[in-house]
Symmetry: C2
Subunit: 318 residues, 2 copies
DNA sequence: GCGAGGTCCTCCGCCCCTCAG
DNA sequence: CTGAGGGGCGGAGGACCTCGC
């Protein structure tokens, strides 16, 4: 393995631009026999899972939400296990476990299995860990491993893109080590919910990192692969910012609508459906935008009650 | 059992107004370590489960949503089982099962476990079935069972509220029979997803019916209970209409925001935060309402493109 | 790389029962 | 009617392996 005069052939450094079928509306099919909640759940699942969360993580989050709902009922029903169980069709024994789990989360700070803000930590934190563990300064060889001769290292570097973060190029083994380390750190941070890095999980994470363009794979003919850090942040799509805004908006919109259902004062729901002439569409949207801002400005007063307004407008469905 | 001169004492006909702890914000606790998606899931769980859906039904719906997301990825990835599995950390074998399940739902019309499909039909349809099976006409005795003497029947009827649907009063046994029948009908309608009426499930449904005020229980001292239909519709809270509107709004708002993320044309997102003086609040909200309608009217044109606008405004969180 | 097949373990959604306060 | 035990079944998430293409 240790390179004598072995010839290192490099395939194109590829950023794994996989064939993505131009089937952008794959996700738009109508769910047969569904209601509004089903639609919302589907939207959530799409956003969650296509941003890199595991399938199981989404299910866990949904289960956690349901457990919290059970806990809320439990409190509302005067801490009556049996009754709560009956209302939700859950075994009283199970209700008790759930209540204890939620309580220990609320008081002792134990963590529930939520999506915990962000993308999976092992994806978000990965670039930072790499930069820390394998720093690189201009002038040094990128390839740290002693498996390669100076000539080989040179050859490898030639094929790398010009603009790379200041991080070393590492071997497959080192990559696995990094992932291992990441999980250990992550587990240290949250003592419950211990994750073990199974082979299956490792492969999943590697594919996510490659597919998102965070990591770049350099194939060496016959002797495995090297890996380079391509970006300092994990970002599955460049729409990231917009996706976050969307989810925040939806969550807060939901909260407001719930207040509206509960007939809280000072909450207004607006719903307008109408038809607009195509040629006046832009004009209309622009006028609305200006109008709203003017309205908010007009009534704004620094020491007043903080208010928030959410709005979305677009073509009607069907 | 068959009544001779047995004295039938009735406890107060009770509509089971159970003690509800004035802990209306039980459901408002902050989820530790959560993100927007977690909040949305929690809102969904609360609404789903407090409207009578089973705990397991919500989980099933979430699982179905995740399966659909997997199917979407599968299509996007050019029908590559292994890759899809890797991306979402699911066994390829499992992916295959999921794909087949979704496909047979889309093509053969097999039903997925959505909330709509399992919409507590057994709650919604129950009053109608009762009316059909045990009709009652003014003048007849309400109590059909031959277990009771005319005097006893009279005694029972005196205790009933004045305004009841035109349905007979039935025994516990007949109630169970009704539930049984309901499940059979429901299963006939959807050959997959067979539900069996276990004792636990029966108790769950009965409590839901009582707790929602759909059914009324009349306790006979020592000799079991009778049941009367109190309303012709199942409505857990009187907020039902508003809840539906909310969920529809949120789902459609979500759809529009998704279009905004994808930078579709003609989609506008609006977000305004500002402070308003308490004394001008009402004025401001009213002006906004009027302004929006005027705006929609101004640009409306019968043969134009159908557009929809969603808005919610209220106090900011915290 | 891909699909197809098999095996294992564990958790948990459900089902039922009893008994003491 | 409540809590607190008991026992049991089945499905499915998760992980592992080999084989043939």
């Amino acid at each position: 393995m240790q390179g004598a005069n072995r010839i290192v052939f490099l395939s194109m450094a590829k950023q794994l631009q996989h064939v993505v079928i131009p089937c952008a509306d794959a996700r738009l099919f109508k769910i047969p026999n569904s209601c509004a909640i089903d639609q919302i759940l589907y939207q959530l699942a799409l956003n969650t899972m296509s941003s890199g969360h595991r399938y199981g993580a989404f299910l866990d989050a949904a289960i956690t939400a349901a457990k919290l709902a059970i806990y809320a009922t439990y409190l509302e029903q005067g801490k009556n296990l049996r009754r709560t169980g009956l209302l939700h069709h859950v075994e009283p024994k199970r209700v008790k476990e759930i209540v204890q789990e939620v309580q220990s989360a609320l008081t002792e700070g134990k963590l529930l299995k939520t999506l915990a803000s962000e993308e999976p930590k092992y994806l978000i934190c990965f670039p930072h860990l790499w930069l820390k563990q394998y720093p690189w300064n201009p002038g040094q060889p990128r390839v740290g491993s002693s498996e390669f001769s100076a000539a080989e290292k040179n050859q490898i570097e030639k094929i790398l893109p010009a603009q790379l973060p200041n991080a070393g190029v590492i071997t497959a083994f080192q990559l696995t080590e990094l992932l291992q380390l990441l999980l250990v750190e992550s587990n240290k941070h949250s003592p419950s919910n211990q994750i073990v890095l199974s082979e299956a999980l490792e492969e999943h994470i590697k594919l996510r990192l490659l597919e998102s363009g965070t990591v770049m794979q350099i194939e060496l003919m016959g002797v495995g692969s090297l890996y380079a850090l391509a970006r300092t942040t994990y970002s599955p799509k460049d729409k990231r910012e917009r996706v976050y805004s969307m989810l925040d908006d939806v969550a807060d919109f939901f909260r407001l609508m719930q207040s509206w259902v509960d007939e809280q004062p000072d909450v207004l729901r607006g719903l307008e459906t109408f038809n607009v002439a195509p040629e006046r569409k832009q004009e209309a949207l622009q006028e609305l935008d200006v109008m709203l801002q003017a309205w908010a400005d007009k009534y704004h007063q620094d020491d007043g009650l903080p208010m928030v307004l959410h709005m979305a407008i677009g073509p009607e469905e069907e």
